[in-house]
Amino acid sequence: MKIRTSVFTSFIMMAQVLGIALFLRGFFPVPVKSSVSAKNKLSDLPAEPLTGGPHNSSRLPDPLFKRVVIMLVDALREDFVFGPNGRGNMPYTSHLVERGSTHSFVAKARPPTVTMPRIKALTTGSIPGFIDVVMNLNSPALLEDNLLWQAQAAGKRMIFYGDDTWLRLFPKLFMERDGTTSFFVSDYTEVDNNVTRHLDSTLKRDDWDVLILHYLGLDHIGHVSGPRSPLVRPKLLEMDDVLKKIHGALVSKETEGAPPYLLVLCGDHGMSETGSHGGSSEPEVNTALVLVSPAFRRKVGMETPSVVEQVDLHPTLALALGLPISLNSVGRLIPAVVQEAPLRDRLRFLHLNGHQLSCLLGANWSVPSYREQTQIEVGVEQFRVAEKAHGGWMKLYLEGNTSEVLGNMGKKVLRQYLEALASMSSALSRQLGKYDMYSMVAGMVIVFQLLLVLLLAMPEALSGAALVDVPVLQALLSLPFYLLCLLLASVHVLVCTSAGSACYLCSLSWGLVFTAVAFASATFCVLVSMATRRLPGGGGGGGGGSGWSLSELDILLLAGTVGHTLSLAASSFVEEEHQTWYFLLNTLCLAVFQDVCRKYFREQRRPGAIGENREHHEEEEEEEERFFLSPKGRRPSDPSQPGGDPRSREKWLALATPPLTLACCRLLRTLNQTGVQWAHLPDMGHWLNSSEHRAVLSLLAALSLVLVYFLIQRRCSWVSRIALALGLVGVYSYRAAVGNVWFPWQHGSQSVSKGTVEARFVYVFVLGILFSGSKDLLRSQIAAAAAAAPLKRRGLWEIYSGLVLLVALLFRAHNLPVLCCCLLVQSLMARFIWRKLHYDAAQTTIMHYWFGQAFFYFQGNSNNIGTVDVSVGFVGLESYVEGPAIFLTALGTYAGPLLWACHLVCYLNSESLRTPVALGHGCYVLALLRSVPVAAYVVLVTALRYHLFIWSVFSPKLLYEAAHALLATVLCLFLGAMETAQADAARP
């Protein structure tokens, strides 16, 4: 079956987007949550169970502890405290552990064993997924129900010293705080002294209930020199001294009668043998947890610490402090901690915990992806039984029964509760923090197959005919297809029926799954038959392969694409991806410069010599020739007379374009510092936005808008021109209304409004221009062939200018030069470079893509979710409306790539008058450029899923890549539609 390149490409891209979506669904499992911002309240707690009585008490047991000190030592591995090493490392602590009234545990942390998710797990009892981070993009603060919020609501006064991650998560909860930054890993004394220096005075006071200390030094030592470093022991001794000091102070403050204190020593995660953390190896996961309180029974000898989950600390602390358990907690009470409480209280604690877990399970009951339905049912059923037994026990108890029977019965209820808790908790936590590998692999396979099909089709797709022969029918009628279908279906059944799998694909309906299976098999068959066709003869289908000779520019474009894809494997290169693009873009401009010079200088000099002996030219580096082309260096060699002649003027303009582009890029990169390492450096954007430079900003914005007008208007109809001018004025007045810029006649401080009216004014013009553009485009379909081309070109250009106007509205005032430079570079390049140097559609597309990438970062984006400008979603809206807000935010974020892609559409359309296949080629290359990094990145992320930075660096990038792929798909569809229309018009 022969289909046009653009249709083929669009189809592949759409399928690929589905594959990516499947992968994402497996990579970011939907979190088990009741609600993000709902909080558990004391009044919502269930009544104490009682069979058959009118008594309906919602009594909470008295808090077991009055004051709590949580001493969190970052990366406190279990064997630092317990076992033979512990005695030397932390003598006082081990003495307490062995002889004191303490409980000690090995707390298992869940991967990712990274500080921030661990703090969330400790305080909320839930296992945070990455998608949570995206969900509350607007504020880094923890909005979920958590222990600290509950404590504050209960009137507890809290003090915090240590890692400032806490202050970002809980911005307003602490009565007193001092954050230290964990930015400088090489500092491991100052970070801890900053915490300890407050201790003496704080411990003397009585005005607090909860004291949280987070020591970072040990973690830093681990990162720098590993767990066997000689620095570790002194650091642990220091921690031991701190603990001794706190313990001593607490003991001295202890008063008879009042509830006692509780001292918690814990680690957020462990440390691998190389000193890092983030993965799921034993030493990273096992952390020490020591609870010290006079309420516990004094130990007589060393016991081996039992194993608990890290999240179990949360319900334990909440119940022991008389607070409601947070809604999303999946932990269960550590029974040993409440061992000394009366039996009634212990049962009540377990009941509360069980109730909260069953509520959480109930909230997720309807989620279809649960494979452990039966296990959940068993757990909840166990809980119901225990609750009933509890009611019976309460009845006996309230009747005053004190016999042996009551005690035995109570123990039985206790056991039932614990079993129910265990099965509910494990059913819940199995859902969390786990990758759905089946869906991920399925998505990955689809993406890769499609990429291979795309690559195999290259010679045909880029041939002059731009027709791809896809053997769909042969594939569908072949035996391997049916065998493969059968195989995949049986694999699916096998995976879904095997124990312990909870995957998205298994929850899908059979029809959908079978479609996916058939699709995957068909793609595979197509792939194989295309590959066999390509392999033997080397040129059965297309005329490509041997005949291609690459110029320096081609080599650069190819190497840049491949190199960029490879660079995504390193977290630093992902963080600093803008540097890669700026670098490549610069090199590209220099290469283009060299091409221009070659064209204008050498052709005059040696007209006959070019192209004679091209076969074995060595692969010179593109920069090689650039040094003799310095503006000053070439002047003496120029034989042509300056000025006058339009050809020579054009020549000088063409020669000036690449340096001008380079200068523009250099200026733009100073506008917004992005990335991670150098993001803190001052940039032009900050300078312009400070209030004393508002005049400069106003001038710059106005200038940019004027320039934008002149660059855009030349190809619009006069109606659109007027609309554009008014719209740009509207943009400026919107910025003035919002308070970013001044009107020249309005120097005083004016009232700052939301600018809704002005923004809507602009929207009207945007819609008008878009409408008139689409009208032209539609009219070109029915018009006669001669009139169609200019109409179509104008229509496209008007749509493009409508977008530009919209982007001008959305961009912040200091980013308007980015827009202006974008248009300037586009028009110069289109006029003097791409057309004049006869770059083909593929080369032009790659250049557009590179520029688009660079402009994505020029406008201040990065691969961090934090740089998404959410305020864009409110432009022209009175309040938050989800649909438009998401659309506007996406548009504002991807404005750079979008504008370049739109320009590409306009350019290729005008080019297609000369070479009709330009649109198809551009579409194909764009798809290829997008799917290569996406496919590579999907594999990378899967391989690196236990990497230390998977949540902070790689996952956000994955989302950006996916969104970008979606954008490219839309553009490919557009290009495809245009090419089809053109081909239809050409045929009759």
Partner: protein
Amino acid sequence: MWDHEIKAMASSHAIIASSVFMATVLPAVFIQGFSVYGTHLLWLYSVTGAVSVVNIAVFWLLGISQPTKKNTLGYKLSRLVRSCMYLLLSCLFYHTVVVLYGAPLIESALETFSLAVLLTSLTTLRCLCVLGPNVQAWIRVFSRHGAMSVWDTSLQITVACSLIGAWLGAFPIPLDWDRPWQVWPVSCSLGSVVGYLTGLVVAPAWIHFHRKQLTYKSK
């Protein structure tokens, strides 16, 4: 004839390469605390100086450069002045290009300019030695098929290698390894010197293995 030229080139390249080596090792004997990273600029200047002196000496002794028609003192002087001007312009040009690539404009201008000087000594100086201050010849050599002798080809190769080396040397800078060689401009200058040395080795070898295909039209 060919073998003779290749041999001459190989030996001259060996001398230049050893000069780079000496410039790295010798100062360490005389200057306390000299190291490639620690006192990077010092190393850079010493390599620049050594390469320049040895290049000029070698090419002058070999007499590669085009024989001049006029032998008057005034003509020689004007050539010298022109050469110096070209060197300066080339330094400025490299500086501009490096700044365009993203080097800080003001902050470490000295480092950037030192890199430009190094690049000039590795590339432009060699061009001056081989081709003389003759822009037409430069353009010819660096056009795609403009090489007219083995020396032109070797010039193309070494210049390309030095520049590619400097280009590749910029890649490790964004990595967060905090190594001493990631400091600006250490990796770039190291890259360019390594590229230059590679070019010195590759050029004779390449010419040797391709001597059948190499046809210099003007000869």
